[in-house]
């Protein structure tokens, strides 16, 4: 397994545990009524699962198992793939931290963090698509 795939898969596993933990908190909150503000964790729960776990697992396995690009650069651009990893994870963590705190009328700084998070994840998706496109080859 390439080193970058290790990063992807281990991060994906951490996100799986994190998202299920938040899912547990949400379920406990609806049962015990701990705090209404905890309901704002719902989108974070979905996105940690779908982006942090599912999509990241796919990114990592695709990087490892898709047909090699060439003998010299089997994974096409390693730098682009590293950038994908860091942008996706930083963007997702920024979202997870800022989204539950953000309310209409709250400090603009939190809004800027959300926009930054959106941009980082979008660029990560674009970089992954660019790097993977050339490796989708028929025999």
């Amino acid at each position: 397994v390439p080193r970058l795939t290790q990063w992807y898969l281990r991060s994906a596993l951490i996100y799986l545990v994190l998202s299920l933990t938040i899912g547990l908190v949400l379920a406990a909150n609806s049962m015990l009524g701990i705090s209404p503000s905890l309901a704002s964790l719902q989108p974070v729960f979905f996105h940690l699962f779908v982006v942090g776990w599912l999509t990241q697992l796919i990114f990592g396995v695709a990087y490892w198992m898709f047909p090699k690009y060439s003998r010299e650069t089997p994974y096409r651009s390693v730098n682009l793939s590293r950038a994908t990893f860091w942008l996706l994870n930083t963007g997702l963590l920024l979202r997870a931290l800022s989204e539950p705190l953000f309310q209409p009328g709250s400090t603009p700084f939190l809004g800027y963090l959300l926009i930054l998070s959106a941009g980082m994840q979008w660029i990560a998706g674009l970089f992954f698509a660019i790097n993977t496109w050339g490796r989708v080859k028929t025999r």
């Binding site: 779908v50 599912l54 999509t55 796919i58 695709a62 898709f66 047909p67 979202r95 989204e99 953000f102 209409p104 939190l110 809004g111 800027y112 959300l114 926009i115 998070s117 959106a118 941009g119 994840q121 979008w122 998706g125 674009l126 992954f128 698509a129 993977t132 496109w133 989708v136 080859k137 028929t138 025999r139």
Partner: protein
């Protein structure tokens, strides 16, 4: 990678980009309230990422790597596999655009039916190929 898997993986990458683009717009809209109507893109965001991206990529890779039949066609009927590809993609696109169309609930239902047909067609060809090493598939 067989040609149909390659087509489906590339389609999945396009769906990923559509899904991430809409997601970025929705998240930014949450931060700066660009326009309330943008929230109507939420079903498109979900369908692009769950069915167009994740499910389609899983099916494309399964068609590529599942054990092959001993006789031709080695990966099962290419006609049925092609039908699965067309119906799934058409279904996701119909659900995605349904928000902005007249008769949107009807179009969304047709889209969902197409997605179901696509997945069912995939299952028809994949079922027999899901075999253990001990069992010779014919």
């Amino acid at each position: 990678m067989p040609i149909l898997s390659a087509l489906a993986v590339r389609a999945a990458l396009i769906h990923l980009l559509f899904g991430f683009t809409i997601g970025a717009i929705l998240l930014s809209n949450k931060a700066v309230s660009l326009h309330p109507a943008l929230w109507s893109m939420l079903p498109a965001h979900i369908d692009f990422l769950l069915f167009g991206w994740a499910a389609q990529l899983a099916m494309a890779v399964a068609d590529w790597i599942l054990p092959r039949h001993a006789q031709r066609p080695k990966r099962g009927s290419r006609g049925i596999a092609g039908t699965a590809f067309i119906f799934l993609n058409l279904g996701v696109l119909l659900v995605a655009i349904s928000t902005w169309m007249p008769f949107n609930t009807s179009i969304r239902s047709i889209g969902r039916a197409f997605e179901l047909l696509g997945v069912t067609a995939f299952i028809v060809i994949a079922w027999q190929r899901i075999a253990t090493k001990q069992r010779q598939i014919s």
